[in-house]
């Protein structure tokens, strides 16, 4: 609990620092460089989440533990969320810096492809009715999609760079200014911690839901403490 309060304060400090404590970077127009304190950690979290989802998918396929599938699904949902955030903030930055919302430079392309992968994952999950098969297929797809990522990382920069040389983004240099660097790293840490918190919450929700379903099948009631009868039940449904 304490950590969560600390995280809240920490993120608030980062927000303040991003605007008041640091100086705007020189190469960018106006104050636009400040968005990188938020945009880069978001895309980092989106990619990290994809990795987590893939790893959990592997665990699920190997061991068929339901909780692993919950991790995979939660990570996919959160990854999708942060991917959207990263795309939007990146697009805003692009508009301010280069004048158009979308330029298909390497980083933008990669984040959009990640977005389509997440979208396809959810389309798959919602199209398969049998729950076990749904989990297996989603896990397989997660792994297949992950395998194409190295191609994106190596291929896309080589190809798009030669097509549009003037648009390669260069946000990987916040190390210019020590203040900027500290705030950037602090933001990275804050976003990762926030992600882990949200991930755990989502996993717990999914775990609870599956417990509820299991209890329903075993005839022990829906689990809602308000509406359930308080009569003592026989533990008949549970195998001893």
């Amino acid at each position: 609990m304490v950590q969560k309060i600390l995280l809240t304060i920490w993120m608030a400090v980062i927000i303040v620092a991003a605007f008041l404590y640091t100086e705007a970077a020189v190469g960018f127009p106006g104050q636009t460089s400040r968005i990188l304190f938020f945009h880069v950690p978001q895309s980092w979290v989106a990619t990290l989440s994809f990795l987590v989802s893939m790893a959990a998918s592997v665990v699920y396929l190997a061991k068929r533990k339901l909780k692993a599938d919950h991790v995979a699904q939660s990570a996919a949902e959160l990854g999708f969320l942060f991917c959207i955030l990263a795309t939007v903030t990146g697009s805003i930055f692009a508009k301010a810096t280069w004048g158009s919302f979308w330029n298909w430079d390497p980083r933008e392309t990669s984040i959009v492809i990640l977005l389509t992968i997440y979208g396809a994952y959810f389309a798959l999950r919602s199209a398969i009715s049998d729950p076990d098969r749904c989990r297996v297929l989603a896990a397989v797809y997660s792994i297949l999609a992950f395998v194409t990522v190295p191609f994106l990382v190596f291929v896309v920069p080589r190809i798009t760079a030669s097509l549009h040389p003037e648009n390669t983004m260069n946000p990987a240099n916040p190390g210019m200014d020590p203040r900027t660097l500290t705030v950037f790293l602090g933001s990275l840490f804050a976003y990762t911690a926030l992600y882990l918190w949200m991930l755990r919450l989502r996993i717990r929700i999914l775990n609870l839901e599956s417990l509820k379903v299991r209890d329903l099948f075993r005839g022990r009631g829906g689990g809602n403490p308000k509406t359930e009868n308080e009569q003592p039940r026989m533990k008949g449904g549970r195998a001893q």
């Binding site: 927000i15 303040v16 008041l20 919450l201």
Partner: protein, 41 residues
């Protein structure tokens, strides 16, 4: 420029406080459900 920055920062802070509040409330509710589930076991 500085006034504009403070405004944007304030908006960000308010949004963040809203998010954090939501997460805390969600956390409490989940904990309540978890303990009630455990009690039934």
């Amino acid at each position: 420029m500085k006034e504009g920055l403070t405004f944007v920062m304030a908006v960000n802070l308010i949004i963040w406080c809203g998010i954090a509040l939501y997460l805390f409330i969600l956390d409490k509710r989940i904990k309540a459900l978890e303990t009630s589930m455990k009690e039934k076991e």
